[in-house]
Symmetry: C2
Subunit: 294 residues, 2 copies
DNA sequence: GTACTGTCTTTTATGTTAAAAATACAGTTT
DNA sequence: AAACTGTATTTTTAACATAAAAGACAGTAC
């Protein structure tokens, strides 16, 4: 009938961790800024800590009575917001049933499945619709437009346009811009991962995203940066969809990234162009090969 | 407490217009497809028509008893959905108070103002947020990011990238593609409007949008086409914001469009490039000049 | 057999509501 | 005076309820 208290529970858990390290908790406003929540929530947490006998709470003094133990924490399944639950459920459905174009999505059904209200589902679907994979017919059901060949091609075209723009913007950054040293660090991570690729190839997607986001940030264009949310979502999905030849694909992507980074550091526009193009072409074909047979 | 019956009312009104022209209404499924609604709604409309004495309704026979008069129609203010009401209110607010960056938007307040439930407001804001002008901090208010100089520049950059892509795609269309004749027709409209610009310059925004959408459709890329929704919204907003020198701006935009169209018809890529670039540059400076002083 | 109608079952749209969380303000303590 | 606490006031979150609208299916008319 009302909202869940996930903020309270998450904050409580983080406060326990904090309590493990210090004998006295700081003032309420200080706790609030440290934990990123309002004083109302802080006070609710303090009240519960006092009630459980973890601290004594009298106005300004909040001394610890005993260190927190693992069973004091709220279990992780209770600290997820409905929005997150719905998102996970929905993505899992996509992975399981595939994204058959033309099929419908029922709000109630998804709500039942996820164990949340229809409101949360509906808001999630509206937010998700910005990715262009689903569409709402007024007064009717949600239409799954599907991860089709056309979708993949359109996506890849925009990506290439944006990446080209961002790479050019990166070259225009001042020599002492922090992005350059970030680039050096991320290059080192690539080299390290390449050295032990057999053990660590599963970590690549995360590195991949960080690298491309670094480049895109140079454009400082919110539309380009936002668009990468879609790319990241699709890639994440696709990584789970088709794991055949994963190690090889990741290994060669790492080499492409390194070549791309070196091209950026050389500041030779022509070299950047060919390096990024090579990467785009292989990323595009990987994406297309992963499409469900149609 | 429940949804409003705007579909019913709109359908009823359109059915009245239909009834003005024919003595007998067709079958229920036929009416449904003609009016774009379900049979359930059609039957509700028929029931009401019979009740009001406009028709006699007995199974398949639906003869007209009297022609509809103006007072039979539902008044226009009753045929707006909450979603539309909220949208209008919100845009009016933007126009009136401006888009001061950093100010907040309260859902309840907007709901009270528009006379609708908070759900409708919330869903509108989520949908609207895809334009990047507002942003939500979890558990907190909506933040108005504002139509700033940065926003305008980022928008113009993307627009230019996309327009370039679409223009190239247009050139690649087959000679017998219907878009070419549509282009000819739209050129004629430009010429006609230019001839009586003093009377008709206010009609330009609509023509402007149709022209650019025609070009963008050639890309057949959903992301490019979707992005034009944002452009159109901003332009519509901006047209109302700053009307100084409107006639002159529109007049020269018409000439730029004609040059652009002629370049496309010449199929000379270089000529297209310079024509579209000229238009982009002037569109960008118009947009920037319209910014509220900051 | 095809198209239409009657009726029943889902699903969506949207206002209402209650708890959670944020915010605002007045009063205290240091 | 500055920072903190106590308390009251908004605002958001999210479930829920219900009418509107869509969709499904069997029976009926042509």
């Amino acid at each position: 009938m009302s909202r869940t208290s996930i903020v309270f529970k998450q904050t409580y858990n983080r406060c326990l961790t904090m309590l493990g390290r210090c004998e006295h908790l700081p003032s309420e406003p200080e706790l609030g800024t440290a934990l990123g929540v309002s004083r109302t929530t802080v006070r609710a947490v303090l009240a519960r800590l006092a009630e459980t006998g973890l601290i004594r709470w009298d106005k300004r003094s909040k001394p610890r009575l005993r260190p927190p133990s693992p069973e004091d924490y709220f279990p992780p399944e209770e600290t997820d917001s409905p929005a997150e639950i719905v998102e996970r459920r929905f993505m899992r459905r996509l992975l399981k049933h595939g994204v058959a174009p033309g099929s419908h999505i029922s709000e109630v059904e998804l709500a039942r499945e996820a164990g949340v209200g229809t409101t949360s589902v509906r808001e999630f679907l509206i937010r998700f619709s910005r990715f262009g994979l689903i569409e709402k017919r007024p007064n009717s059901r949600w239409l799954l437009k599907g991860f089709t060949r056309e979708f993949a091609l359109e996506l890849a075209d925009i990506r290439q346009m944006f990446e080209r723009n961002s790479a050019a913007a990166f070259l225009a950054l001042a020599d002492d811009h922090p992005a350059w040293s970030a680039l050096d660090r991320i290059r080192a991570e690539h080299v390290a991962m390449a050295a032990s690729i057999d053990d660590r190839y599963e970590e690549f997607p995360e590195l991949d995203e960080r690298f491309h986001r670094l480049v895109h940030n140079a454009s400082s264009n919110r539309f380009i940066i936002d668009f990468y949310d879609l790319i990241a979502m699709i890639f994440n999905y696709h990584y789970q969809w088709n794991r055949a030849g994963e190690r090889e694909r990741h290994a060669s992507a790492i080499q492409e990234h390194i070549a791309y980074i070196d091209a950026l550091r050389s500041k030779d526009p022509e070299r950047v162009r060919s390096a990024f193009l090579a990467h785009m072409v292989s990323a595009r074909s990987t994406l297309l090969r992963s499409l469900p047979a149609s």
